[in-house]
Structure formats: structure tokens, C-alpha cells
């Protein structure tokens, strides 16, 4: 228990350090851009792929499950679109990227930590938290909504295409269904979620990486922990946000 509190304390301290020195952050703009490229731009292909297949699979499976004749085909479009916007387009990329982005961040920072690169930064007069942690968290928070948008559009498009190709429902049925349930609030909810997920993934990964110790094995352990913790906290946050905002 005290270990848990200690961890939480160190985590909060890291975040506090990151926030406290945010004024000098402008100096490290280049880092932010790099991180945005790595977190957002480079993640887009896998996110679009994941989103596309999520939508496609959902359409086919919903069509398979909705066999009752008196339910119109457009219901499939409605179910797929709303599920994507509220839940899947935010959560699935988050889970995928907790591996891709989170693991990368932990490994990077962990390696820097065990090879004394963080000490080297500090000794040169850098605030290593500002220099390393801040850009990564900000990039996560800024780029995850972009990822959410990409996944949503890819997912809805994937569903549309899958419905059309398999003949489960026509394009116009799909659009009618999608439109019938579309609420701007759902998108807002999804974007809020993606903000939170972005923060969770990057901050946990930074925390685990920044305090990694014990050589290559230590970095490996930190990476595993960061990925697992990210997934757990994503699901917890997903639940909390749903309970809180819906």
C-alpha cells in the first residue's frame, strides 16, 4: 500500500515538475514537433487500419446478428457509427498506441535514464522533465484527438464499404442510419476521451521510463509495466468518463 502511494506520489511529482517549468517550454518547441510526428503522424497508418477494420467487422457482425426482418437495415449503420464515435474510435487506437507510443516512450526514456543521458541533460543545465516529459505528454494530448478523428472516419468508411461489398446494407441505408443517431455531443465525448487517453498513455510511459533503473532488463520491465498500466488505466478512465459524462 505504501509502495502504491509512493508510486502515485512520484508520478504526481513528475507531472508537477513538468507543469511547473512549462514557461521555459517554448525553448523545446523542436522536441514537441518531433514527438508530435512520432506520436501522431507516424501512428496514423496503424490507427486508420485499426479503425477501418473495426468498422468493417462491426458492420458485418451487426448485420449477422440483426436477422429480424422488421428491423430496418439502416439500424446497422446507426449502431456502427454510434459505437465508433462514442467508444471504439477512441479506445481501440488508445489500446493499440499504448503499445506503439507508450512502449516507445518508456524505452526511450528508460534507456536515457540507465545510460545517464538524463543526468547528462541535467548536468548541462537542462530541466530534463521539461525537456523530455513535457513534449511527450503535450504531443499525446494534442495528437490523440487527431487520431480519434482519423479512426472514426476510417471506421465509418470501413463499415460503409463492408456493408456495400457484402451487400448487408446499401450506402444510403448506412448513411440514413448514421445520420439518425448522430449527435455532436457524441463527438465531443469521443474527443474528451481521446484527450484523456493521450494523457494517460504518455504520462504513464514517461513516468515508467524516467524512473527506470537496472540496465536493459530494467528498461524492459518498465516498458512492460507501462503498457499494462496504460491499458488498465485506459479502461478505467473509459468507464469513469462514461459514468460521468453520459
Amino acid at each position: 500500500m505504501s509502495k502504491l502511494l509512493n508510486e502515485l506520489g512520484r508520478y504526481c511529482r513528475l507531472l508537477y515538475e513538468a507543469l511547473r517549468s512549462s514557461t521555459e517550454f517554448s525553448k523545446y518547441r523542436k522536441n514537441l514537433i518531433n514527438e508530435m510526428i512520432k506520436t501522431g503522424y507516424d501512428s496514423l497508418p496503424i490507427v486508420i487500419l485499426a479503425g477501418f477494420f473495426t468498422g468493417a467487422v462491426m458492420t458485418i457482425q451487426t448485420a449477422y446478428q440483426l436477422v429480424a426482418a422488421f428491423i430496418p437495415a439502416s439500424t446497422i449503420g446507426a449502431i456502427v457509427t454510434q459505437s465508433l464515435l462514442i467508444e471504439l474510435a477512441a479506445v481501440i487506437p488508445a489500446l493499440v498506441l499504448s503499445g506503439r507510443v507508450g512502449a516507445r516512450i518508456t524505452t526511450e526514456l528508460g534507456t536515457m535514464s540507465v545510460s545517464e543521458q538524463i543526468d547528462a541533460l541535467e548536468s548541462m543545465g537542462f530541466n530534463s522533465v521539461t525537456f523530455l516529459v513535457m513534449p511527450r505528454i503535450i504531443a499525446g494530448v494534442l495528437m490523440f484527438p487527431v487520431i480519434y478523428i482519423a479512426a472514426s472516419v476510417a471506421g465509418i468508411g470501413g463499415g460503409l464499404l463492408a456493408g456495400w461489398v457484402t451487400g448487408a446494407l446499401s450506402v444510403s441505408d448506412y448513411m440514413i442510419g448514421s445520420r439518425s443517431v448522430f449527435l455532436p455531443w457524441d463527438v465531443m465525448f469521443g474527443i474528451v476521451k481521446s484527450f484523456v487517453f493521450g494523457f494517460i498513455i504518455t504520462s504513464i510511459a514517461c513516468y515508467k521510463g524516467y524512473y527506470a533503473s537496472g540496465g536493459a532488463e530494467g528498461v524492459g520491465n518498465a516498458t512492460t509495466q507501462a503498457t499494462v498500466l496504460s491499458c488498465i488505466y485506459i479502461l478505467l478512465a473509459d468507464f469513469s468518463l462514461a459514468a460521468l459524462l453520459l
Binding site: G40, Y41, S74, P145, I149, P184
Partner: protein, 309 residues
Amino acid sequence: MNRYSNEIKVGITIIAAILVAFVGFRILQDIPFFGRTFSLHTYYERVDGISPGATVYMSGVKVGSVRQVQLVGDSVRVDMGFSDLEGIPKGSLAVIEATDLLGTRAIVIRKSTQPEFIEDGGYIKGEFDEGIAGQFRQYGDEIVPKISESTEHIGSFMAELDMLLKDGGRQNLDGIFANLNRTTTNIDRLVEEKHSELAESVDRFNSILANVDTLSADRKEQVDTVLVNLEETTEEMKQLTRELNQLSAGLNETVYKLNHGEGSLGRMLNDPSLYNNLDSLAYGLNNAVKKLNEDPRHFLKHMRLVDIF
């Protein structure tokens, strides 16, 4: 990919995301990008399932969608957006109708023939169509008086029939049948009685004629008396014929009366509308049962099962 700096890549990514989100938003909200658009609003007592994004049809063609639904006091204000349309004629109606069995509702514009259009943001009169559930209710409303009417008919018919059988009617009938019987026996007996007489007469006539032939010359007086007798006989026959005529006229009258529906029995036999009523009632009931068997959802709908969805 070194042609572009990282800054440009990030910028493009974010701007592209915002653009895609915007476009997607507009598509899902069904707001077109180009073309003339205008909006109208209306008020309903209730909207039952009309929500933003619901489709607006005119002459079966999709012309717009619902933008906003909000409660204003006791009524519901519905804002609709239209596109690619010159305008909605003044005096048109915006009717909420069910488009499918699930109760998905849309607004259908019933065009008026007036030449001027309602101005942008203007008011269009709204009406609530009950939809299939409502139609069923209406159907029920229509059929109930019919059924009660029919049963009334049946009732009165039965009563009449009953009365007919129980009271004077039965005696009348009995009387009629008795009379008929008596008449027939009369005729029978008459024919039987007179048969021998007639045969006798003919025989006698024949012999008389023979006698006349032999005796005419010398027994002229006798012939004269025979002729007188013959005359008497003819008179008798005339009388008989008259009586027979009268009987057949009476019978005719009775049959006519039955044929023309006079009296309850006649009516029962002859009134086509009553028969038709019964027939259509039976048909209607048949149909209803058939429908119920074939398509129970029709009636589930009436039970607002759909609202559970």
C-alpha cells in the same frame, strides 16, 4: 519524406484532421456544403421520435433534415434545414409520419399549390400523423361501428325471425301452409270429382252426337232437348274454370309477396344489403384474422412495443 519539414507535417496532419472532422460532421448532420439552403420551423404538440438528423421528404424525395428539436412551453419547436430546393409553397403542411414499422419517423411536406414560398426561417404549419399505429387505431375506429351495425342487423333480424316463428307469424305461416294444402287438396278433389263427370259427359256427348246423327232427322224435338242439356253442361264447365282461375291467382299473389320481400320471411330471402352486410362482415373478420396470423407486429406496434427499442 524529407521533402517536408516535421513542422509542416504536423501542421498538415492537424489541419487535415480538423478539416476531415468538419466535413464528417457536416455529412453526418446532413448539412450540404454548396447550394442554397434555408430553414423553416414549426410547432408540434408532440414529435414522438423526431430528433435532429431526421429526414424531411417532399413528394417522396428527401429535401432536408431536422436541425433542432426543443421544447417550448407545451409544444415542441422543430427546426428544419432544406437544400437544393427553391422553396416550400405557402400554406404547405409539415406532417410527421412513420416511415417504417419500427416507428422511424420523418417529416413529410404536403405541398400546397400557392405560388409564393415561405421565407427563410419562416413558419410552416405542422401536423402529426399517427402512423401505422394510428392507422390501425383508425381502422379499429372504422370497423367498430360497422361491426356494431352488423351485429345490430343480425340482432334485429334474429328478433324478427324469432317473432316471426314464435308469435302470429308462425300461425300465419301455418295458416298459409294449411291454406295451401287445402287449396291443393281442393283442386285435387275437384279434378278427381269432375274427372268421371267429364268423361261421362264426353261419352254422353259422343253418344248424344251419335244419337243426334241418327235421330236428328226424325227426332228433332229430342235433339233440341239434348242441346239444351248440353248448354247447361257448358255453363257448369265455365263455372269450374273460373274457380280454378281464382285459385291460381291467389297462389300467384302469395308467391309474388314472398319474392318481393314483403314480410320478414320475404325480406330474409330477398334483402341483398342485409346479405351483403353479413357477407362483408364475415369477410372483414376473416381478413383481420388472416392479417393477425400473418403479421402480428402490425398489432404489436399498437401495443407500443416499439417504444422499448
